[in-house]
């Protein structure tokens, strides 16, 4: 069982006030707050063991190296990886996906295809667009009206030319949980490499990479109680080991002459330069914290909150309130994206006139700014998924996202504030 009040006591930020109100933080899909245990681990490292890793033959450098290696081991266990050499530390999910576009992209040729979906975060679209220069084609799996991935569409778009299938595990806007295990089977039967963007799943539910069977997974430490600037690329050992380095420099080499170099062993061959040691240590402390709660419990808590949100949505009677994503809480993560009246993209062919402008909608910017005055932090905008917004026919939405420190009271505060927003802004 998750007790949000008890959990909050580990997060100093909840002691502060926002404009005279308690802080109701509803933007954990963007980044989570940090417990004192994570901050302490980082401080402890700097106060007691700070030094460079893999180099010094003296006590504190050996300690730092041990801490860094132990963090890799801990993260590896956490996602069910059987070998810590399958964990590459990067800056964030975005860097992991760029890493894959660069390294896997080297062997792609004209006419090869990459299969993505319309619900991807920009970080799982833009790096692949770079490969268009080589004549690589991108295809996008559509979603159904319920916000779920259209598996029939996926099967019709995968082809012998599809070298890579890269999909998000959980949509950061819709909350949709994709059946990655099943999709992985389809991808592998087709001979495609299968990549999972785990940025919104690893922090929120039990994730086992061996069970999913993916070849690669990307996620970010800062979305799971860890510090920013540390993220993870998981890769199946043989496949990972076969890749060319992403960046060159110190730490990643075995031997260097003026003409050429040989590489260090995987994963160090992919970690050029002094790594984010503090970040890895902080992430490891975050993993300990989450393991202590139990990821099953984290997942259950979020399901209960979303279920309560969907009930409040109906009860609140807020006029023109619309929300996106699957209605079944089993199929959906802890995000709630909504609008009070929708603002549709401008049709440039249509003349702007008093009649053609919908005026009843409240813009998400106004929703977020007004909610802030009641102490609530929510996100507004396109949530780094402009293609998905286009698909939904909207320019933006507001998003409340939930985590272990959120409670039913936070949901009540959200809907109470939304009623006030509607009074203030609807014309």
């Amino acid at each position: 069982m998750i007790n949000p009040e008890e959990i909050k006591s580990h997060f100093p930020i909840f002691n502060r006030e926002i404009k005279g109100n308690r802080l109701v933080y509803l933007d954990s899909a963007a980044t989570t707050q940090k417990p004192v245990e994570v901050v302490d681990a980082i401080v402890d490292y700097y106060y007691n063991s700070n030094s460079n890793v893999h180099r010094g033959i003296y006590t504190i450098s050996e300690e730092a190296t041990e801490l860094y290696d132990a963090s890799r081991e801990n993260v590896s266990h956490f996602i069910g990886s059987k070998d810590s050499r399958q964990i590459v530390f990067v800056r964030n999910a975005t860097e992991a996906l760029n890493f894959l576009s660069y390294t896997l992209g080297r062997s792609l040729t004209e006419g090869d295809e990459i299969l993505l979906s319309v619900m991807e975060h920009h970080s799982n679209i833009v790096p692949w667009q770079f490969l268009k220069e080589k004549g690589v084609r991108l295809k996008f799996v559509d979603i159904g009206s319920d916000g779920n991935l259209d598996l029939e569409d996926l099967k019709s778009k995968i082809s012998k030319r599809t070298k890579i299938v890269s999909l998000t595990h959980v949509s950061n806007l819709l909350g949709t949980i994709n059946p990655v295990k099943e999709i992985g089977r389809i991808a592998h039967e087709n001979g495609s490499v299968f990549i999972v963007d785990g940025a919104q799943s690893v922090p929120h539910m039990p994730v086992d990479v061996e069970d999913i069977g993916c070849d690669f997974m990307a996620f970010s430490g800062h979305k799971m109680l860890g510090p920013s600037g540390i993220g993870v690329l998981y890769g199946k050992f043989d496949l990972l080991d076969s890749l060319h380095p992403f960046m060159g420099g110190g730490e990643m080499i075995r031997e260097v002459s003026l003409e050429e170099s040989t590489w260090n062993d995987t994963p160090l061959k992919f970690e050029a330069g002094t790594p984010n040691i503090e970040g890895a240590i902080g992430l490891s402390a975050a993993v300990d914290f989450l393991r202590g709660l139990g990821m099953e419990n984290v997942r259950r808590h979020e399901m209960e909150l979303v279920s309560y949100v969907l009930q409040k949505e109906i009860e609140s009677g807020i006029k023109d309130l619309v929300s996106y994503g699957p209605r079944e809480v089993q199929e959906r993560g802890g995000v709630y994206s909504f609008n009070i009246g929708e603002i549709h993209p401008l049709d440039l062919n249509r003349k702007l006139s008093v009649e053609s402008v919908e005026t009843s909608a409240v813009h998400p910017h106004d929703v977020a700014a007004d909610l802030d005055s009641y102490g609530l932090s929510i996100r507004s905008g396109h949530h780094c998924a402009m293609p998905l917004n286009n698909k939904l026919g909207i320019v933006a939405s507001s998003r409340a996202s939930f985590y272990i420190y959120n409670s039913r009271e936070d949901v009540n505060a959200l809907f109470d504030a939304l009623k006030k927003v509607q009074k203030a802004f609807v014309r």
Partner: protein, 127 residues
């Protein structure tokens, strides 16, 4: 009420009951600008006679800041000569709103200003 609350109320009034709302049938120039990131859109139509703004109207959609700023800006330029319009710059538009705006909302505040600049440019190139 603090000064800030009072100013916020003024801005909200402009949003709820915008001044100079609509389109001019006999406009000399009419231009639309939008911000693709948040979808805010403003169209300004100007009637220019003897080098001055004889009439101005706007229509638009978007957040309260973008729409209120269009309402306030059109009030401000009504009757002004094109020479006088040159004195209006980004900073003075932000000051006109009078609220503490973060960087992303400054873009909203400046949408009507950018639309006006587009109108002036279009007018000048057609002369």
């Amino acid at each position: 009420m603090s000064d800030n609350d009072m100013q916020a109320e003024i801005v909200l009034e402009h949003y709820r009951e915008p001044h100079n709302y609509g389109t001019l049938e006999n406009a000399t120039v009419s231009m639309t600008e939008s911000n693709p990131v948040c979808g805010d859109t403003v169209n300004i139509s100007l009637l220019i006679e003897d080098g001055a703004v004889k009439d101005v109207k706007f229509v638009g959609k978007g957040c309260s800041i973008s729409q209120a700023s269009a309402s306030m800006l059109t009030d401000r330029i009504m009757g002004k000569s094109l020479e006088e319009l040159k004195e209006i710059d980004e900073e003075s538009v932000i000051d006109m709103i009078g609220l503490k705006l973060g960087p992303s909302r400054e873009k909203c505040a400046l949408l009507s200003f950018n639309t006006l600049q587009k109108c002036i440019k279009e007018y000048q190139s057609s002369q």
